[in-house]
């Protein structure tokens, strides 16, 4: 078996005295679209920031394309072929579309300035909406257009791996479906992606492999095709929600004692 493109091995990290990741392990093969799913506080975004190099690892190892990048600067990881679609305000609002794309190609333009025109052309062909708005300030565009720009900016470097952090967060449903289409296109082109999502249905439509996180650990990894709602709920810690018996003992033990309380409606 070939070496995976990205290998995350037993990574721990946190902020100050509070530990957030308690040993995260998963691998991503070349050409694969990996989804990292979990509820709020499961540690998805921190996992992503650790891979990106924005949050230092406490212990464990991250390797990318066979190279140990555990302590490498975020900037240098980009040079190795990582690209990002960051969470939140995804583009530089006070810069134009062209300028955003140029910044996306910051590392590749240094290596190969002549090839930039061709790369830009490819992105503009893939996202025609950007071609019409090259001099517009990114901050004045609609949510869907900004999402296109963020994805285009990540692709212009022709990366080996695209990290996408909660792309659907804070977007309206129409924009989310636009985004799904964009990412579907990208996925079809064979780029390796790691997608962190809280909107699990959204993520499952794209991912080949799901890594489910709970309390700072990956508790299940497997092909998306093998997941059903029951198993998903179980691994995400919301079993009770579906009437499954995975809920804690505390609920069933405490409730009768409170039955006499008039304040409670039940």
């Amino acid at each position: 078996m070939a070496t995976p493109l990205l290998q995350v091995e037993d990574v721990t990290t946190g902020f100050g005295s509070s530990q957030v990741l308690h040993g995260v392990t998963f691998t991503v093969a070349e050409g694969e679209i990996a989804g990292v799913f979990g509820l709020n506080g499961a540690g998805k975004s921190v996992t992503m920031k650790t891979i990106a190099g924005l949050v230092p690892t406490w212990s464990g190892r991250i390797s990318f394309a066979g190279e140990d990048i555990t302590t490498m600067d975020a900037e240098d990881r980009v040079v190795l072929g990582m690209s990002h679609v960051p969470q939140g305000r995804q583009v530089f609002p006070a810069l134009t579309v062209d300028e955003n794309l140029r910044l996306g190609a910051y590392t590749s333009r240094r290596r190969d300035r002549a090839g930039y025109a061709a790369r830009l052309d490819r992105v503009l062909t893939q996202f025609p909406i950007l071609a019409d708005r090259r001099t517009q300030l990114a901050g004045t565009m609609s949510g869907g257009q900004q999402a296109s720009l963020a994805v285009g900016r990540a692709l212009i470097n022709e990366p080996r791996l695209v990290l996408i952090d909660e792309p659907s967060a804070g977007l309206s449903p129409t924009v989310v479906s636009e985004l799904l289409e964009i990412l579907g296109q990208v996925a079809a082109s064979g780029v390796t992606m790691v997608l962190v999502e809280q909107n699990i249905s959204f993520g499952l439509k794209l991912a080949h492999v799901a890594h489910l996180m709970q309390s700072g650990q990956v508790v299940h990894s497997g092909p998306v095709a093998e997941l059903d709602q029951q198993r998903l709920a179980e691994h995400l810690g919301v079993g009770r929600m579906l009437g499954a018996s995975t809920g804690s003992a505390l609920a069933s033990r405490r409730r009768p004692a409170r039955g006499s309380n008039g304040a409670a409606p039940r």
Partner: protein, 295 residues
């Protein structure tokens, strides 16, 4: 009227230039470099030493001043700011107060309070514009500042690294994630601040005439700081325009109240303008309204 305008604009461009330096550092680090004026003074002492004391040409003194001011800024960033355990804007700003105090006391110790002659780039009569005599130094100053302002604008928009500087001010993490080396952006911002401080000090010196410790802090930095506030500490154009406006206002006030015996009237105007902007337009005259809920 013409005289007020010409004198005001000549000085105003220098206020504006330093205000751009203050704003650049504020946008890059969230902090105010209170030592920026004095970094310029320090460069000016170097220029004095090279030209007046050693007899070298003005251009050598100017180059030495810029080089030393840039080096001083970079050294501060490298030795004080970067190793900080808690790198908050407040901590950085207080540290710049330390640098300001260190430079001032060094100048007092080394050069004393006695005023020094300042180097003048070109001697001569100059030309008359709108009935006002403009000295060659002032013309050169206008030319150099215009070149720098345009050049900086072009650099920030046209080069990839310049775009990285603008982007880092908007979102440092996202800027790192496209591969822009943030450390070099930060170093650039401090270094550029040092360079404009030296240049502004060099060109304002002949107008003031003598060099004493605290020179550029007193004659340039206070005004530039208010100009930067007029620009909302966020807009480079706003800061420059603010500098021009304050320059004209200063020469106007000195002209209109030339009879008054009160010394330092212009400082009262600076304070009044600063307070008015904080009360009425805290985001600056060109600044965008603050994002709501951003608290």
């Amino acid at each position: 009227m013409g005289q007020v305008l010409v004198i005001g604009l000549v000085e105003g461009t220098l206020f504006g230039l330093l205000a751009v330096g203050i704003t650049l550092i504020y946008r890059g680090t969230g902090s105010i470099n209170f030592a920026l004026g004095e970094i310029g003074t320090f460069g000016l002492y170097v220029a004095w030493w090279l030209t007046i004391d050693r007899g070298l040409p003005w251009i050598v003194g100017a180059a030495g001043a810029v080089a030393v001011s840039v080096a001083l800024s970079l050294a501060f960033e490298r030795l004080v700011v970067r190793p900080m355990k808690v790198r908050s804007p407040l901590a950085i700003s207080v540290a710049t107060v330390g640098l300001l105090t260190a430079l001032l006391s060094f100048e007092f110790q080394k050069f004393g309070e006695s005023p020094r002659e300042v180097p003048v780039p070109i001697h001569g009569l100059g030309v008359r514009i709108a009935g006002v005599n403009v000295s060659p130094t002032q013309l050169l100053s206008l030319g150099v500042v215009a070149a720098i302002a345009l050049g900086l604008g072009q650099f920030l928009r046209r080069t990839d690294f310049g775009l990285g500087v603008l982007a880092a001010a908007q979102d440092p993490d996202a800027t790192r994630l496209v591969g822009v080396p943030l450390r070099r952006v930060t170093a650039f911002v401090w270094g550029a601040g040092g360079a404009v401080a030296a240049l502004a000090a060099l060109f304002v010196a002949p107008t003031v005439g003598v060099l004493t410790p605290g020179f550029a802090s007193t004659h340039l930095f206070v005004v530039a700081l208010i100009a930067a506030v007029v620009g909302g500490l966020s807009s480079l154009q706003g800061a420059f325009v603010g500098g021009l406006a304050l320059g004209v206002l200063k020469s106007g006030v000195l002209r209109v109240f030339s009879e008054s015996a009160l010394p330092g009237k212009e400082y009262l105007v600076y304070l009044a303008i600063g307070v008015a902007v904080l009360l009425l337009r805290p985001d600056g005259i060109l600044g965008a309204p603050r994002l709501r809920g951003a608290t």
